[in-house]
Symmetry: D2
Subunit: 257 residues, 4 copies
Amino acid sequence: MRPCDLGVVGANGRLGSRVVAQATALGDRVTLRAGRGYWTGGVPDVLIDASAPDLLARTVDFCAVHRIPLLSTISGLSDSDRALLAELSREVLVLRADNLSLGHYLQRCLVTALGTMVAGAGRPAEWHVLDRHPATKQHRPSATGTALAAAVRSTGAADVGLDSVRGGLPVCDHTVETVIGQETVAVSHGVREWSAYAGSAVRAAQWLHEGSMRAKSSGPHTGGFLSMDDYYAQYSAAAFPIVTTPPITTSPEGVRS
Amino acid sequence: MRPCDLGVVGANGRLGSRVVAQATALGDRVTLRAGRGYWTGGVPDVLIDASAPDLLARTVDFCAVHRIPLLSTISGLSDSDRALLAELSREVLVLRADNLSLGHYLQRCLVTALGTMVAGAGRPAEWHVLDRHPATKQHRPSATGTALAAAVRSTGAADVGLDSVRGGLPVCDHTVETVIGQETVAVSHGVREWSAYAGSAVRAAQWLHEGSMRAKSSGPHTGGFLSMDDYYAQYSAAAFPIVTTPPITTSPEGVRS
Amino acid sequence: MRPCDLGVVGANGRLGSRVVAQATALGDRVTLRAGRGYWTGGVPDVLIDASAPDLLARTVDFCAVHRIPLLSTISGLSDSDRALLAELSREVLVLRADNLSLGHYLQRCLVTALGTMVAGAGRPAEWHVLDRHPATKQHRPSATGTALAAAVRSTGAADVGLDSVRGGLPVCDHTVETVIGQETVAVSHGVREWSAYAGSAVRAAQWLHEGSMRAKSSGPHTGGFLSMDDYYAQYSAAAFPIVTTPPITTSPEGVRS
Amino acid sequence: MRPCDLGVVGANGRLGSRVVAQATALGDRVTLRAGRGYWTGGVPDVLIDASAPDLLARTVDFCAVHRIPLLSTISGLSDSDRALLAELSREVLVLRADNLSLGHYLQRCLVTALGTMVAGAGRPAEWHVLDRHPATKQHRPSATGTALAAAVRSTGAADVGLDSVRGGLPVCDHTVETVIGQETVAVSHGVREWSAYAGSAVRAAQWLHEGSMRAKSSGPHTGGFLSMDDYYAQYSAAAFPIVTTPPITTSPEGVRS
């Protein structure tokens, strides 16, 4: 990936500050820093939104005016917030990241493959998913735990438990285990530092910039709505055909990079 | 699978006795029991060898004379023993099982997929494999641990550690973990009871019987040399194309080792 | 311990049948077997009740009439059931076992010691307790998990989480972990087979018989109300003075509940 | 503890730099920083040596001349280095720390108590110790693993395995597990950040300063040779009498090693 100029909304927050640090570590320049009460710097190649929903309108407006792609990592989006992002994606590339982590993507791929193989083997299997976060996290189960349970169910498994543990050190662990007779197979993913998410955000922003450049040079349609799966699937598609990768679509006709 | 008549060599041993019990539980009849000093019963549909190399000559001879398939699960085979099995496979189907467990197969598939995806992502990764067996197991590392490390290395990983822990309760656990930045992804497999292996042996024998029936009805070539991968891959091939699965071949042209 | 003659109420149940098997393995004779609809055999030295509350009245009556000690392992006792046991303990030794396992006792001792030391160190600590049982167990948290959390709180800890995981193979695991700064210390206990409980029941019954013999030979007061802590504490009292161990007391003065 | 003025030898090293950071965080002043090629600042209340053996002569000389206590945390000490520390301890308090961590102390106490209880229970038990460090650590087993195995053996256990795993993220994990029949009990300790050691060094230095002040005010003998056990035992002595805790002794009569 080529380095690029990044803007970070929520630059002083838990994730945003780490995005700024990782951007520098990975060779990018942070040319715009914004947040509640400040918005300073020049127009970047890509904007990373690591703030909160109340800054979304201004963020989306900025991207539309300057025609730069947006990587949205904030949580707590309402339906109308998501509609705003979809609207923006008619003009520029928007990557909506529900979970930035590479490891989460790998775990979900593996769990889907495991479920499919176990279903094929025709043996009765029991499944359970465990999410662990520090005691400070109130919400349970985690969105990631729910996504993993859905991945298992998508393979036809009927009996999928989902439990949460609140304790231990940051950041989090997720485990999916199946019991087949007197055997168990488990796929686990642990995140040790928030910087893991920040590094993924910076790398995905670089990729978004390149895709945006390509799209602009190839025609009039430069928008599109993407997910982290689209980003990670480029690495794994050849190796792991079980993961179906819908094409990057650009509005309205569906241009893809 | 249709039930069939099974013969068990080593019928009183640790694995063999469980094969006899699982055969009954899964609807088969055990019509032949053999071992050191005894060989009683009629000709079965399939012979499962769960004994020791010193009974191999008689076992192979029995299968050749009666033209029945052989499932060989014994360990400690010499090169000449393996040559004997290969020779037999020109006449009848021979399934040589280095590790009977379904979970081991699943783990190896997942680890290979994980290694391929991680290699594709181009991020530096460190790998390690852990085998745990009770303190009574002297040999380290386990053959399964070595096979898992080889699976990781086959994806291009250079730095793969392999450690053994000797302690805890039977039967065994194997874990493969990769560290990518501040994230970890692990695939674990545990076997709780020896009956897990025995059940797999019985199911594979049923499959071997069906394959043998098909081969006999379709032409003069009724032999073939198979592995547990061939057995398990039939379930997973569609779901998991990363695992290449050659079809059951018939001898003399199709002997594979 | 000297072998003795045991009676088992609920002799055909999940725990009772294992008590019968372990009794034989440990050198005892099972001279009485009872349950719903059957009550056969002679008067034993000790009666182990592994059945259900609805047989309690007859069981208690039998012990009172024949003046033999009772080891009560059943769950789901009502207050009036417990009053019945307390009443019986005025005549004979009654051991009420909420958790038979040696490992549970050891874990509770260690957790209490850990909590006391951490409190003494004056460092902020966060605690959590995890109970894991197979998906078939509905109730959460487990009584053992609740007991462990209470042990932690008894040392002054204010912030004690308690979570349950329902999945995996029988029987169960319990873990207590504390986080102190960037360190964690955990005490874990796993039970792999129901026979672990059964063996403890048989050993405690032998001990109860010996205590009963001693009490009878030393005076008119032969009753007393005991717990598994009383049984296990005899082994650990010298080594582990943190666990206060009241002596076996005889009624009527010494009834303890 | 009252804040004090600290000196740090090896102030730019992996541990030393964290000691400087933790000292500030815990309210102390770092008035002296030293290392290979630099030695700047005034005389502190306590000197923490986090450097390497080749600076030991100067460090010891400095403490002797200025009559300040020394906390020695460096590894790789030779016998003559230790003799130098013992000699110094005739004049001032010397705390020689083989493992700074509170959690390590707690784990060793718990394991000793567990071993003593298990020995008392008279049940056959198998033990194993596991040390895990990242792949960059060459040496195996770790000194801490060896110390834990020794703690188990000190309770009379004969069969104690000790295995090492090299993989995963910093800093380290140690687990001691015993198998008793079909049950397991384990005590685990994990260290997530090097700052855990640094914080303990600073706290122990504060304690050393207070002890030194008390010794100076109470008589002519101001030396003594201490370990981290002496430091931590003050918190746990009341709660955990199994750990014998000799008082701080003053030289020349009371030198202990």
